[in-house]
């Protein structure tokens, strides 16, 4: 039980007053790799259009755009950028978690909460940009002022649910594999690792879809009036 660190996050170094933990390092490395892959794909599109890498880049850009178009009903470029960043970061995190000695950064409650707070803050920004400050604030009391506490509570609880859902799914996969390794040995957990990878990709997709739904709902206030 000493080797399985469920809620804690070992500190590996300090950057001035800031402690740098294992999850921070892994998340930064994953981000760097995703940015590097994006740069390679961009170079392929610019230099050799029609090559295999350019096709992959085309698909990688179309996928979040398709999600946004399906949910919001029209093309919103900046929302596609948010959706794509979230999906590729989360997917890369869950793939990185399959490497030996690497723990998925999303099995840390701090990192999933940070992502959920990002979505929580993007909702009013999108709403105010689409409809102005007064128009956005009015949707909290739109049918009647009785809805105000319910709307506020739903904004907070869905942010909480977003972070805990991702955290719980990733942590449960990690714990199952860790328990099986401790109990039976090395090769038995392989099918469960495959299941963990599938669940990780699915949760990345769901986190993206729910973020787009929440931000898109703030945008759609504009079209109703």
């Amino acid at each position: 039980m000493d080797t399985v660190n469920v809620f804690g996050d070992p500190i590996v170094g300090r950057l001035g007053p800031l402690p740098v933990t294992q999850a921070t390092l892994t998340a930064l490395a994953v981000s760097a790799l995703v940015v590097l892959a994006a740069a390679v794909l961009r170079r392929a599109v610019l230099r050799r259009p029609g090559s295999l890498l350019a096709t992959v880049a085309d698909f990688a850009v179309q996928f979040p755009e398709q999600i946004v178009t399906d949910i919001v009903g029209r093309h919103v470029p900046w929302l596609s950028v948010i959706a794509g960043s979230l999906f590729y970061f989360l997917a890369a995190c869950s793939v990185a978690g399959q490497l030996p000695q690497v723990r998925t950064p999303t099995s840390n409650l701090g990192i999933t909460s940070a992502l959920a707070v990002l979505v929580f803050l993007a909702v009013p920004v999108a709403g105010i940009r689409a409809r102005g400050l007064w128009g956005y604030l009015r949707h909290y009391v739109s049918p009647s002022p009785l809805m105000l506490p319910l709307e506020l509570m739903s904004e907070i609880s869905r942010t909480f649910a977003l972070s805990v859902r991702l955290f719980g799914n990733m942590l449960s996969g990690y714990l199952i594999v860790a328990l099986l390794v401790a109990l039976v040995g090395v090769f038995i957990p392989t099918p469960l690792m495959a299941l963990d990878l599938l669940i990780g990709l699915l949760q990345a997709y769901i986190f993206t879809i729910l973020s787009v739904v929440y931000i898109g709902a703030a945008l759609r206030v504009q079209e109703k009036s």
Binding site: V6, F7, A161, V164, R165, F167, G168, N169, L171, S172, L175, L202, Q203, Y205, I206, I209, L210
Partner: protein, 91 residues
């Protein structure tokens, strides 16, 4: 009752409650997910050409229902690994 006995009782209660939390949470989520699955199969049988949209919504809904079970699991893990009332046991 000494302090050590109190910690032991709290630890035993926490373990039992953690098991119950996961069991009941998984029970409810399993019932809900089975209904979603059967409804999706029904829809697929009626409209096979809507397969892509049905499958996408199926996975999203399944994961949202599953998250209640995951919340129960997180509460059970807090009871087992980060329980403030049994912190004195390991110290």
């Amino acid at each position: 009752m000494t302090e050590q006995t109190l910690y032991l009782v709290m630890g035993a209660v926490s373990i039992v409650v953690a098991g119950l939390t996961t069991a009941i949470g998984a029970f409810g989520a399993a019932l809900g997910e089975s209904r979603i699955g059967s409804a999706a199969m029904d829809a697929l049988a009626r409209q096979p050409d809507e397969e892509a949209a049905i499958t996408r919504n199926l996975f999203v809904t399944l994961a949202m229902v599953e998250s209640t079970a995951i919340f129960c699991l997180v509460i059970a893990l807090i009871l087992l690994f980060a329980n403030p009332y049994t912190a004195g046991l390991t110290a």
